[in-house]
């Protein structure tokens, strides 16, 4: 019994070491969304300047079919990298993509879309302090949400949508949601 007490330090260390091994494979900055399986937040975002008056984004627009909501901004460097992928996905015609121009001057956002191509069906402006983005639990741009036919958030992708991410993660989820 007394000897067992002396084993305690090595036992505690062993447990710690196991956690560390696991920790090396985890990313502490990878924060899952708490909005998964929750309805899309209430929003009614104005359109970007120079675009049709009814092209803004509201909660009701996300009901009836599977859609993606992409958070972007003209200030966002990674969005430039992501944008061609979104344009390509739009060309596939599988899913409708909507945009939220976050923390941006809407005029700059519109200009940016003219320059980089516009994959969005609807774009809502969410200038600072970005209330709608906060309602979505956004921590940075780009982020992409997948919303099902009932208007419920099903998935959140953090960072640029790459062709790999589209093929391996987003597309299968969209296909599955289409079935329901």
């Amino acid at each position: 019994m007394r000897r067992l007490v002396y084993l305690l330090p090595v036992a505690v260390f062993g447990v710690l070491a196991l956690f560390f091994v696991r920790g090396l494979t985890l990313n502490p900055r990878d924060i899952p969304s708490v909005l998964i399986d929750k309805p899309v937040p209430e929003m009614n975002l104005a359109p970007l300047p120079g675009r049709p008056a009814d092209s803004g984004l509201a909660t009701a627009d996300l009901k009836g079919r599977v859609s993606m909501v992409n958070i972007f901004g003209s200030w966002c460097i990674a969005c430039v990298q992501e944008h061609p992928v979104l344009n390509w996905i739009k060309g596939q015609g599988i899913v409708s993509i909507h945009g939220i121009d976050w923390r941006d001057d809407p005029a700059e956002g519109a200009k940016w879309l003219r320059r980089n191509g516009d994959p969005y069906e609807r774009v809502g402006a969410d200038p600072p302090p970005g209330r709608t983005a906060v309602d979505f639990g956004v921590t940075g741009a780009p982020e992409t949400f997948i919303v099902d036919k009932q208007g419920v958030i099903r998935y959140k992708h953090i960072g640029p949508v790459t062709p790999e991410a589209w093929e391996k993660i987003l597309l299968p989820i969209i296909r599955e949601l289409e079935q329901k």
Partner: protein, 158 residues
């Protein structure tokens, strides 16, 4: 590219001078502002890791500061404001982790550790006292002698 990545992650990459809470954001009513500041101190800035939104000058922290103040001005209680933020960002945003099943070990652990420490010490005293009783008084005098030796030696050694 590798060079760039290394540089991006360079030391202190994210520590920025924390000049948060600009005067323009602050609430006119000092009592409300004080509440907002206290709440903000407990909310984590999500993009800068272990800083509170009150101490960070990141854009998102600024947005959250403004939104917290909007909620307070709209008459929300402290709990309602915190719930508002947690509903969107999860418990991760709370610098003061809530007491619940998943944080039980965190909150109770230190006190268990202390009690266990005391209990172990207590047992050791008990065991030693028992041993001292069975072989008393010889060990004490031997002990004294050793100490005396050490003391003498100390004096002589210098």
């Amino acid at each position: 590219m590798r060079l760039l990545a290394l540089f991006a992650a360079a030391w202190l990459g994210l520590a920025m001078p924390a000049l948060a809470a600009e005067p323009s954001e602050m609430l006119k009513d000092p009592a409300l502002e004080k509440r907002a500041h206290a709440l903000g101190k407990d909310l984590r800035c999500l993009v800068c890791q272990s800083e509170s939104i009150e101490d960070s000058n990141a854009d998102l922290a600024r947005d959250l500061r403004i939104i917290v103040r909007e909620r307070i001005s709209a008459g929300d209680s402290d709990d309602q404001v915190m719930k508002f933020v947690v509903d969107r960002y999860g418990d991760y945003v709370l610098l003061n982790p809530p007491f619940k099943a998943t944080t039980l070990v965190l909150w109770v652990g230190p006190f268990v550790l202390f009690v266990v420490g005391l209990a172990v010490v207590w047992r050791v005293y008990g065991r030693r006292a028992a041993r001292a009783a069975t072989i008393a008084p010889a060990p004490l005098s031997a002990d004294e002698k050793r100490r005396l030796d050490a003391l003498l030696k100390d004096g002589a050694g210098k």
